[in-house]
Amino acid sequence: MHEVSIAQNIVEIVTETLRQHPASVVRSVRISAGRLSGVDGEALRFALDVVKDGTVLADADFEIECPPAAGVCQNCGREVEMADIFVLCPHCGSTAVQLTSGDQLQILDMEVE
């Protein structure tokens, strides 16, 4: 349950960015929380709704993407979709599948006016 702390970091980054921009209101923010990032999208949305009050994000909508993870098999070199972090390579059966994406926790962009 560290989503509140994550939400506070988002508010800080957005506030700081807006300070260097002529706009004053944030309309929407796009966030990417990979399925293996350890952050739950719904819990993050709930936390954002709580911490946004009284900030430049008070009226903002949040679009939270939770993209699935992908990896590369260290044995056969092929790309593997990862529904879970513990997968066998579907091509060669190896357990040595290296995660390449899906653990990111990023603010992608935001709309302001």
Binding site: M1, H2, T17, L99, L105, M110
Partner: protein, 224 residues
């Protein structure tokens, strides 16, 4: 309406502080271990057993203790005559880099070879926050499920070493050590694994030697 492209890591501020801490540790030649586990797996007891072994090798140890409440763990460690500082998070489920920075001045870094940061007992949140450490240690015990690695993959994927504690209890539980190691290696193929018992002392010497080896490797890199 304007679109501002950010593509920014949400924890970038934490990562910046952690990078500054890592530089500070490098300057003082401190090897730093971030210990993560669920509550009750035996992190503090493990430290109580390991610290005298390091002291016997003339390695000086410092400890930062993270807990939601109480100074109990710091009191236990202080009995071993090592510098220790309790960080009470007041409800927060993890330590972050800023908390480490705020409490680090309480420890004599130039006089330490090893620094252990005992994180708040939690297998989820602590894995996301870098603290400037060299390695993460994940501790699980045989009183827990052997499927912990696949239930909490984020922390196991980032761990350099997995300690399986309380192996003296294994015959009383359904814990399957081979299964736990298989799961952990599936997530992190090169993770070092040490089955130990803090009660009997089994396995502790091998773990101690591994940690000393990591310290020596870092020390050589720093001197170059």
């Amino acid at each position: 309406m304007d679109r501002i492209d950010l593509q920014k890591k949400i924890l970038s501020r934490n990562d910046e502080i952690a990078a500054a801490l890592a530089e500070r540790f490098r300057r003082h030649n401190n090897y730093v271990m971030n210990m993560i586990s669920s509550p009750g797996s035996g992190k503090t007891t493990l430290l109580e057993k390991l610290i005298p072994m390091f002291q016997a090798r003339h390695l000086r140890v410092g400890v930062l203790e993270g807990d939601v409440q109480t100074e109990n763990d710091a009191r236990r460690i202080a009995r071993l005559d090592v510098p220790v500082r309790q960080i009470i998070t007041c409800g927060s489920c993890h330590l972050d880099a800023q908390m480490i920075e705020e409490h680090l001045d309480a420890l004599p870094l130039p006089e330490l070879e090893l620094l252990f940061i005992e994180n708040v007992g939690n297998l989820v949140c602590p894995s996301t926050y870098l603290l400037g450490e060299d390695d993460k240690m994940v501790v699980l015990s045989t009183a827990e499920g052997d499927d912990k690695p696949i239930k909490y993959p984020a922390v196991f994927r980032r761990a350099a070493v997995m300690v399986v504690n309380k192996i003296d209890l294994m015959e009383l539980t359904d814990f399957d050590l081979d299964q736990a190691v298989h799961y952990a290696r599936g997530i992190k193929p090169d993770v070092a694994v040490f089955p130990v018992s803090c009660r009997s002392g089994e396995g502790l010497d091998a773990l101690c030697r591994w940690i000393v080896g990591r310290y020596e490797e870092k020390s050589q890199r720093v001197r170059k």
